[in-house]
């Protein structure tokens, strides 16, 4: 036991260097920064921005359109009339010269404007469909750079609705007009799920709600597996490169203790770094949720909340998956000749972590064809990534089968690792085996 602690202490001292801690903290701060930025961007969508109104008509309907625009601002953002008028900038300019339009928009500091041309009022009076044009100054190619144009389009739609109402009012009176313009009452959605009918909820709400709860876990698991995989394989590469492994293997300590010590210390580091990543990801996720109201329904409200026993299963699966990853990395690391070679050996582990993470983003276990389910089941990292969704939707048999499979896989990898550590391969490399030599001869 003392030997095990001795190895763990040394490994932790080597793994948790100032450099590695700083690099993880930088990642966390990047997530925090990205989350904060997303939050700000989300806020910018929900706060009003100024809009230009280019009046090329000068008729009664163009004046009325400005009033409607002000009313839309008041209703949409809960502003007073005076505040709303501050956001609508009427621009007196001829529409036949784009350069002048742009110059006026820039001088007012606005990047969106709507315009009515000559004949706008006359068209509406003559029951001819009138045109409203849109002008934009595009400076932000980012994801949210187009948000302003979407809002402007929505406003034009609302202007059209309100003008339509006013036109119909004049003909059939306010009561009939209200009915005729909106004869269908708001939809009443019902979604059947897990043997229960949920009123007022659509599948999109459920998906978004579940995604918000479960998306982070696979991403963090993937990052932790990739990170600890790299740590363990590099540690083995370093041991070989610095020739410290030979010395360690001649110490009066069992190979099992060496393997366990390395695995446990990497698992501890992985969990610490994983928690840090989780904090950063939570901020990032909150920022994402703030954009465009991606909140969805709460899984708890839909009876999908996980109980203590479920969380225990999730924890056990994460732990076993990390153990499997570490075992696989120890086996791969045994074949690494040096630090450089070790780095390339992390690729298969990374790929195995990325595949289930990506599939989990786009599909649930139940929606996958058997041909995909089988290879996915074989990948040990699939199970902790999909366990939350499977528990929510009562796929207990898949969860339990996954748990048993992970336990067996973890035992097998540790068994193989100890075997490899007791063999000559660790020092002589795989190139010295009969099979490798026969293969090399064949190649020549």
């Amino acid at each position: 036991m003392n030997h095990l602690l001795n190895i763990i202490r040394k490994e932790l001292r080597e793994l948790m260097t100032v450099g590695s801690i700083v690099s993880v903290l930088i990642m966390v701060f990047i997530f925090l920064g990205a989350g904060t930025m997303m939050n700000e961007q989300g806020d910018s969508i929900t706060t009003p921005s100024e809009i230009g109104f280019i009046d090329g008509d000068g008729g009664p309907w163009s004046d009325r359109t400005v009033e409607i625009l002000v009313a839309v601002y008041m209703d949409t953002y809960g502003l007073s009339e005076e505040e709303a008028r501050g956001f609508v900038k009427v621009i007196e300019v001829a529409l036949d010269d784009n350069a002048v339009v742009v110059e006026r928009m820039q001088s007012l500091g606005i990047d969106a404007a709507i315009a009515v041309g000559p004949g706008y009022s006359a068209d509406l009076d003559n029951k001819v469909r009138a045109t409203i044009s849109e002008y934009y100054i595009f400076t932000n190619p980012g994801l949210l750079g187009s948000a302003g144009s979407s809002m402007t389009s929505l406003m034009i739609g609302e202007i059209s609705n309100r003008i339509s109402k006013e036109l119909v009012f004049d003909i059939i009176g306010p009561d009939d007009a209200a009915f005729m313009l909106n004869p269908i009452k708001g939809t009443d959605a019902h979604t059947y799920m897990n043997g229960e009918m949920h009123a007022g909820v659509r599948p999109l709400d459920i998906s978004m709600g579940i995604m918000n709860q479960t998306l982070m876990v696979p991403v963090v698991i993937m990052m932790v597996i990739m990170m600890i995989g790299s740590i363990v394989i590099s540690s083995m590469g370093n041991e070989k490169e610095n020739k410290t492994l030979e010395t360690l293997l001649t110490m009066p300590v069992g190979r099992t203790a060496i393997v366990t010590g390395k695995i446990l210390s990497a698992a501890i580091v992985g969990l610490v770094y994983g928690l840090l990543y989780m904090v950063g990801m939570m901020f990032y996720s909150k920022g994402m949720t703030n954009i465009g109201g991606l909140g969805g329904s709460s899984p708890a409200d839909l009876g999908l909340a996980l109980g203590p026993a479920d969380w225990l299963i999730v924890g056990a699966m994460v732990f076993l998956a990390i153990f499997c990853a570490l075992g696989m990395c120890m086996i791969l690391g045994a074949f690494a000749k040096n630090y450089k070679a070790a780095q390339t050996m992390t690729v298969p582990i990374s790929v195995l972590a990325i595949i289930p993470m990506l599939i989990n983003m786009f599909a649930s276990w139940g929606s996958l064809p058997t041909a995909v389910q089988v290879p996915l089941f074989i990948i040990p990292f699939t199970h902790p990534m999909m366990v939350m969704q499977n528990l929510m939707f009562g796929n207990t048999s898949v969860v339990l089968a996954g748990l048993v499979y992970l336990a067996l896989f973890a035992m097998l990898t540790i068994f193989i690792t100890v075997k490899v550590y007791k063999s000559d391969i660790l020092l002589t490399g795989i190139g010295q085996t009969k099979l490798a030599r026969a293969f090399a001869r064949k190649k020549i």
Partner: protein, 239 residues
């Protein structure tokens, strides 16, 4: 009494022989040298004695313990210093010795062992510097200290002064003589035959995985009418 007995030992890698029936024995407190060219099988033999490689056939015993069946017992009484060995770069010299001492003793005993190691390494204040900053000579001193501080019964040192300057090599040879004087059996391998001649009580010459000669440096030089071991080796191989 024999501290080490190697009996008709073979080692093959994927059918290719690396050690081909090596036999020799080393007495307690003796400095025994394995000499031969690169690839002769010296390091493989030392690795088998140190329990690092499995023996294909034959038998090795260290103080009566079979390395194949009692490897745990063997590891408690040997110390192996591989050629070009290094230490953990992120640890200080003191932390490295402490880590290694932790495998042999606990508490106060481990502390005493570390203090003895620090004395052997003789690195002054640099013992608290990171190993990464050590010169090759300092690194070798630290590793020798690590190998000697647990007071092993058999110390196995592979190319112990390889790459060191004259002063460092001289001092390390002196340390080896001192530990042998305290009753530690020392097995060294080298292709530097002058060093072996200066240091060893007896030597075995290995070529192509076989022991071609074994005896004291004086005996071997006399038998081949040679002025040094290098000449002995050349004459023995040509014969």
């Amino acid at each position: 009494m024999n501290a080490l007995v190697v009996e008709d030992v073979y080692k093959t890698y994927g059918g290719r022989p690396a050690v081909n029936g090596v036999s020799f024995s080393v007495e307690e407190g003796e400095i025994f040298g394995l000499i031969g060219p690169n690839g002769a099988g010296k390091t493989t033999t030392l690795r088998m004695i140190s329990t690092l490689l499995r023996i294909t056939s034959g038998r090795i015993t260290v103080c009566g313990h079979d390395v194949a069946t009692e490897s745990d017992a063997v590891r408690k009484i040997i110390s192996y210093l591989p050629e070009d060995a290094g230490a953990y770069k992120d640890l200080t010299g003191r932390a490295y010795l402490k880590f290694m001492a932790g495998f042999f003793a606990d508490g106060g005993d481990a502390e005493k062992m570390v203090m003895s190691g620090i004395g052997i390494a003789d690195l002054g204040e640099r013992i608290d510097s990171k190993v990464d900053t050590y010169s090759k000579g300092m690194m070798r001193r630290l590793l020798i200290a690590r190998a000697i501080m647990p007071a092993p019964k058999v110390a196995i040192l592979d190319e112990v002064t390889s790459g060191l300057d004259v002063i460092n090599a001289f001092e390390i040879r002196d340390v080896i003589r001192q530990i042998a004087a305290r009753g530690v059996t020392v097995v060294i391998s080298s292709h530097n035959m002058f060093e072996v001649e200066m240091l060893c009580d007896r030597v075995a010459m290995i070529n192509d995985g076989k022991v071609v000669l074994c005896g004291t440096p004086g005996e071997l030089k006399g038998r081949f009418e040679a002025s040094n071991l290098e000449e002995v080796f050349v004459k023995a191989v040509k014969k």
